[in-house]
Each structure stands twice: as structure tokens, then as C-alpha cells.
Subunit: 482 residues, 2 copies
């Protein structure tokens, strides 16, 4: 864990403060630390210790920290030892090259340059799958790296349940006149928005004695254990509120890590249960809280006071409508709450077809564009704004996209559950009081870290398996009222 | 080297950006990395590789990089393997406790609380010496950790040569009226001084693509290899120029590391030849350059333009006199160029007596105060401003202080040598042109890294062994003219 923490911190530094000349020496440092951590974790000694620990835990409460620690360690160990070191090196080299070519290809909007690298990554993913016991679907193995226990069939079922009603929501608001929103793109002073965002996440409960915020090209959150959790944000000219909502989003991730129980510190139970559960925390704070009427009833006067030139004459209702506007877009990272999942569905469906072999890489751009038309009614004018927009495939992150939608769905389940337990949820937020919400998340969810598998955890907290119902209801209510 | 670089970067982070909650997890990370690096370096495999490399190098040019690499590695290996791991752990625990008690004792000015911890550190230092072959003086072993090859007898001889003339210089200026200097303690805006300091070290040649500057409680420089070298400075109310001279000082250290040849990157020849040679670089840029008339003839109008309210009516001659004022002080870190070495002499003499056993810890405060009166004519009002002022002894840094004086002496030797080779030295600086100086230092000194032992290196560059003559002449000329 010390080696992993060290690599995490060095990679944070690389993205936040490293001078450009440091890129080689930093690469060597993090590669050495990751390799050492991997060697130490996959050693025979750890295997024997695990066998002994499993024997010790025979008869123990299966929900005890000890029993779960052994189960999680055994799972991690099995995954880490199945993949040969040669493959890991080949994969690392291939995605390093692929990312480089992808960045260039996106710049020139030239999919053909990227295609052979994507093919290589897909071939490697298939080989990766072959190291594991046969699953119902080869994609299950890939999903399992990000969402332990989640099956392809479950993801398909989830998307099938979402597709139709989500498209219907978008259609229902499509004909509404666009609210006035010139204040969303006006010129603001970065430090005014920065200070307001800091005030907001401080009110949320982000613990500054165990965290900090900096700037980076792509916002992210990283936890060096629960006692040092760092977030970043960015300032984009013309999108002043991206800094604010990005801060809420990353603070959601960070508060999850800050809330992991002290007894898990420096053990394999540290961190979040899965990417989906992690994303549920960022989405909950960014969307359910940060784009709600109650939130802005309290905070809009404060934002107006911070930016009077831009906002003093804007009614809170107009601001609320503007930040919740539904508008299909070509670009996933700019998508609103209602359309976001359609971007994800499209990607997951294409990924599945690529891994199954039913879609050829050369046919991918057409398949992408056809689905964009079907789901969002838009045709990308070029591949840069289409199939080349995301870094994930070049980075080997197959199986990752589904976790964004899972995050939305789980966030709504948690939000719904909390609302039932705490009828004063919205009025608390309307007073800027988030203490009951954070305290509930801490107690029910955060403190467990990786102790429970994500689907079990969701069921423990919400009383129901992962289900799209609360999410669809949340969207339908929000946009019916908007 | 990757592990050492990682630990260096994590320790930089600890002092610059770590949130307070991270202290435990950071301590675990750097301890694990230091321990792993030590284990790997002291392994039998490295010993066998060294034996083989030594055989390979038989007959090679002894000044070749290969031959020197093996010699330096063999020296480092011998030193690292002589000291038992148990001792290292006991020493680490003792200085951790001693530093904690020292900080409290200094706060209360209570030497008696610190005395038993100091005794323990001295006992450990004696044991440390016992792991090495008998030397002419036990203190030689301690010196050697910071200044390879330097002997106690040489340090004594150096101080004997300095003592009398240095005291005479101070006496000669003691009766001069104090120049007006209220502008040195006026209120300035931190960012004005910061920007000016950045402009100055940019002009020096600090490479911002391979470095950065931040703030920390105690200024320092750290190199993650030559391609990522970081400096820090601090803002002290009432001492506005401490930020400027501190920046020049740390930039001097940093430019040394940035100048180490690329072929030494990630090898044991990376970094500086010794602490003394390192300090020569910081002192040269801070004092010989940064407190010179030529420098301020060029830069004072720029500083006046940055801070007109404080400086527009101050003549450059008055500013020059004020920043070069000689005034005995109780506190080493506030000492001027003329009195600084006397602070060091006092400490080295007491250290020697403590290690020899001729001075008891209980008699140390009286011995300190007696020497302060003798050398500087001052009596500390309490131990906080006397024997307890420095962290070094509590941190186990016996043998370290002498390197500050060596730094001053070597800086003057380099300065003198460069002046003889480049008669336009002062007029170049008077035009803000430091390129010839930096280029000469790079070629003659920096690029070698640890390749040559410090005394050999000084002789190679200056044509003379380490000698106090240029330093004393520099001071005598400076203060005769002032």
C-alpha cells in the first residue's frame, strides 16, 4: 500500500505541478513503483499468507472485516496473478503508443491512423479475457475490473430498461423554448468562481485538513488513503460554471474516500467499492444536490453577491432552468443529465460488439454515427467530434464506460432512499445544511470502503438491488417540473 | 534511484502541499521507500556487481565516467553496508524523539529538557564511528558523510586561518555608523518581491522547464534528477528581502543540480559533489553576485520600479550599504557575510569537543555563551537564542556545520578564478548578463555531478586546493570599500 500510495502521489504531481522536463524521470519513478508493488503483491509469500488467512477465517462471520479483507485480497490476488508479466508489459507499451496516436488522430480527425492501434488494443483485451475462467460473456471479465461482480447481461438489462424512457424524456422537453442563458457564458473572474466553489464544497463537508484542491488540465480526484484526498478543477474560458460543477463532482469522489473507516487505512479495503459506486457519489453531489432547486434557493443569492455584474438581475428560476437545460450534444463530457446515459449506451453497445467480434474496427465510425442519429438526432461532422472524442479505448479502458451510467443510477437510488428516511432532505439543503446527508452516506456507505461488493453494498444501503427506477423517476419528475 | 527520487518527491510534497492529515501516511510512504532503496542497494547482488565492475574497470582511465562511477558506488556501498540495520532504526527513532523534544525545549528555552536526548544522539554518533575503520580523528567519519575526503585536521586548519582575520574585519567595520535602512523593514507586497525574485533567477539562468518554485516554512531545494529541480522560499513579515535572497540562494543550489550532465541522470553520479560544493553555489549566487555593487547597479532601478513607494527615493549606494551591513547577531540564520563563519566555527569547535568527550553536555550552554562573547561580543539572553537555536544536533547532523563555511570559502575561490579568466565579470553582471558565469560553472563544475571528490574538484576548477585566501581577500576588499 505504501508503494501504491507513493505512485498515486507521484502521478498526482505529474498532472498538477511537475515541470515539463520531469516527464521521463516521473515515468520511470511511477513505473518502478507500480512494478515493485505488483511483484510484492503477486509473490508466492502473499499466496501462502492468503491460504493461511483463509484457514484462520473459517467459521468467522462472513461480514466481519477480517473475513471480507481475506475475500477481497484473494480476489485481487487471483486477478493480479492470472495475467503474465509479459502481457502486462506488452499491454502497457501498446496503450502508451495508442494514446499517443489517438491524440494525434483526434487532432487531425483521422480515424484511419488510429484504427490499427485500436485493433491491437482489442486483440490484447481478448487475450486478457483468455487468462480468466470462461465467463457467460467475455466482456464480463473486463467489466469485473471496474465493477466487481457485474455481468454483461445485467448491464444490457439495465440499458434496455433505460433506453426507451430516457429517449422519451428528451423528446418531451425538446420542443420547449430554450431559456435565456447568456449569463452562463459571460465573462467571470476565475477567483470569484473558485472561492464560491470552495465555499460550496466546504458546506458539503469536504475536509480541508485531509485534502486540497489544485488545477489540472483534466479534473480528477485521488486519495492517498483517507487522510490525504486531493481534487483538481479547471478554468475553461466561456464555460465559467464548469469549474463550479467540476469542483462539486470531484468533491463527491473525495468525500467518499475521506469517509472510508480508519480501520481500512493502508489495507486492501481502502478506497471505493467500484467505479460505479464512486461515480454515484460525484453525481449525487454534482447533480441531485448541486443542480437542485433547494440548493440554488440557498446558494444563488451568494453567487449573485460574488458575481453581481453577471448575475444580479438574473432570477433564480432562470438560473435554475439554464443550468438544467436539456440539449443533445455531440460531446459526452458536455452532456446534460438527461442525455448523458445515451452517450454511454452507445459506447457500451459498440464496445460489446467490438469485443464479440460482430463489429469490425473499420466499420466503427459509421456505427457510431448511426447510433448518434438514432439516440440523439445528431450527426457528427467529423470523427474528432465523433468516435475519436474519448481517450478510453486508446487507454485500454474497455468495460469502464458502463460505470458512468451505473453511477447515475446508484446516485438516484441513494437519493431516493435518503429522501424517504429524511423527509426534511430538500428543506435541509434549502438552508445549506448537508450534515444529515453526508452523515448518512458516511455511516451507510463510505466507511465500508471496499469491504462489500458494489451490488451487495447498494442493496444493503437502499434495500433494493441496482435498479433504474429511481433514476428514471428522478429525471421524469425533474423535467416535468422544469 | 527511482525509489530515492520517489522519496525525495514525497518529502518535497510533505513540506510544500501536503494537507496536515497526511502526516502519518506520508511518513509511512517515505519510510517504506527509503527502507526498500537501502535494502536493494545493500544487497549481496549489488556487492557482487560492484566486484565485477571493479574488475572490468581495471586499466581504465581512472577519470573516466565508468571508473569514477564504480569508485563512487563502492564508497557508497561500503558506507551503507557497514552500518547495521538495527542501528539505523535506533538512530531514526532517537532523532525523531530528539527533534520533538528540541522543538519544545527551544520554545521554553529549557536546555535541561533537551540535554538527555542530545547525550543519546552523541552516544549514537560515537557508535556510528565505531562501525568504520579507525580514522585519525573519530570526527573524520562524521565529516565524510557530508564532505567526502575532508579531514578534521583540515577543517581545524581552515578555521585557524580564518579566525583572526575574520574577527579583524568585523572589528574594522564595527565603529562605522549604521547606514539608514528603514526601507529594509518597510511593508512590501509579497507578490512584488516574488515577481522580482523570479525575474532575477530567470536572468541567472534558472531553467523553469526543469524546475519550479513554491513556498514552505523552511526554504530548500530538491532535485528529482537534473530534469525536475524544485526550490522553495518564504515570506517573513518585517524581512521582505529574505524572500529575494532566499530565492537566489536556493536557485544557486538548483542550477547546480540542473547542470549535472545527462549521462549521470538516474545514476549514483547524479547530484552535487558534497554539501560544501553545493553551498558554494548557493552562496556564490546569493552573495558574490546578489549582494554585489554591479548586480544592484543593474537591478536596483528595476526593484525601485516594482516597489516605488518603498524605494523610489533611496539611492542605490544606500541600498547596497544596507544589504551588506555587518552587525554581530545572536542568530546564525540572520548573520551577514562577515560574521557567518564565526557562528559556524563556534559550532564546529563545540561539536568536536562533544564527540571527543572533552566537553560534557551539561557544560555546553556555558561553553556556547563564552564563545559567543569571544567571537561576536554578544551574550545570549536565553538558550533559545543560544545553544538551542539550530535543529542540526537534534537531527543527528554532526559533521554538517563545517560545510557552510566550506561553501563560503569555495564560492570565493570560484569567484576569484572566474574573475581572472573573465575580466569582464563585473561589467557583465552590471548589464544583467550572467551567461558567461553560468556557462563556466556548468562546464567546469556542474556537469560532473558526484564524479570527482570535492577537494579534487575544487583543485581541478580553481587550480588550487581548498584555501581561505580568496575568501578573506573578498571580504577585506568588500568591507574596505563599503
Amino acid at each position: 500500500m505504501d508503494l501504491r500510495h507513493s505512485a498515486d502521489l507521484i502521478e498526482w504531481d505529474e498532472r498538477v505541478y511537475m515541470p515539463p522536463g520531469g516527464v521521463t524521470v516521473h515515468g520511470e519513478m511511477s513505473a518502478a513503483l507500480r512494478r515493485l508493488a505488483h511483484e510484492k503483491f503477486t509473490s508466492d509469500g502473499v499466496g501462502r499468507a492468503l491460504d493461511a488467512a483463509r484457514a484462520d477465517m473459517a467459521g468467522a462471520d462472513p461480514d466481519s472485516t477480517g473475513a471480507r479483507m481475506v475475500a477481497v485480497a484473494a480476489r485481487d490476488y487471483a486477478r493480479a496473478t492470472r495475467v503474465p508479466a509479459d502481457f502486462v508489459a506488452e499491454h502497457a507499451a501498446a496503450i502508451s503508443a495508442a494514446q499517443h496516436v489517438w491524440a494525434e488522430a483526434r487532432g487531425k480527425s483521422d480515424f484511419s491512423a488510429f484504427a490499427p492501434h485500436l485493433q491491437k488494443v482489442i486483440d490484447l483485451k481478448r487475450r486478457y479475457v483468455s487468462f480468466f475462467p470462461p465467463a457467460d460473456h467475455p466482456y464480463d471479465v473486463l467489466l469485473d475490473d471496474y465493477e466487481p461482480g457485474m455481468k454483461t447481461a445485467e448491464v444490457r438489462h439495465l440499458f434496455d430498461s433505460l433506453r426507451q424512457r430516457q429517449v422519451a424524456i428528451i423528446k418531451s422537453v425538446a420542443d420547449r423554448p430554450a431559456p435565456p442563458a447568456e449569463f452562463l457564458t459571460a465573462r467571470y473572474a476565475e477567483h470569484d468562481i473558485w472561492r464560491f466553489a470552495v465555499d460550496v464544497v466546504t458546506a458539503f463537508g469536504f475536509d480541508w485538513t485531509r485534502g486540497r484542491q489544485d488545477k489540472s488540465v483534466h479534473p480528477f480526484a485521488t486519495g492517498i488513503g483517507a487522510s490525504d484526498v486531493r481534487i483538481t478543477t479547471r478554468w475553461v474560458e466561456g464555460q465559467p460554471l464548469a469549474l463550479l460543477f467540476g469542483t462539486m463532482h470531484e468533491a463527491g469522489h473525495a468525500m467518499y474516500e475521506q469517509g472510508v473507516g480508519g480501520e481500512h487505512q493502508r489495507t486492501l479495503l481502502e478506497g471505493g467499492a467500484s467505479l460505479g459506486v464512486h461515480e454515484s457519489q460525484s453525481r449525487l453531489w454534482e447533480n441531485m444536490v448541486g443542480r437542485s432547486r433547494s440548493f440554488w434557493n440557498h446558494f444563488f443569492p451568494r453567487l449573485q453577491a460574488a458575481c453581481p455584474a453577471q448575475l444580479s438581475s438574473v432570477p433564480v428560476a432562470a438560473f435554475y432552468s439554464a443550468i438544467n437545460r436539456v440539449q443533445p450534444t455531440l460531446i459526452r463530457v458536455e452532456a446534460d443529465e438527461a442525455t448523458y446515459n445515451l452517450h454511454i449506451m452507445l459506447r457500451v453497445e459498440l464496445e460489446l460488439a467490438l469485443i464479440e467480434g460482430s463489429l469490425r474496427v473499420s466499420d466503427l465510425p459509421d456505427a457510431w454515427n448511426a447510433r448518434m442519429r438514432e439516440y440523439l438526432g445528431l450527426t457528427p461532422p467529423d470523427d474528432a467530434r465523433g468516435v475519436l472524442q474519448d481517450i478510453h479505448w486508446s487507454a485500454g479502458l474497455f468495460g469502464y464506460f458502463a460505470t458512468y451510467t451505473l453511477g447515475n443510477v446508484i446516485a438516484a437510488q441513494l437519493w431516493d432512499r435518503f429522501g424517504r428516511l429524511h423527509p426534511s432532505r430538500d428543506s435541509d439543503i434549502g438552508r445549506g445544511d448537508f450534515s444529515a446527508l453526508l452523515s448518512w452516506l458516511r455511516t451507510e456507505l463510505h466507511r465500508h470502503g471496499r469491504k462489500f461488493e458494489p451490488q451487495e453494498l447498494v442493496e444493503r444501503v437502499t434495500g433494493s438491488p441496482v435498479s433504474p427506477e429511481p433514476y428514471l423517476r428522478y429525471l421524469e419528475e425533474k423535467y416535468a417540473a422544469n
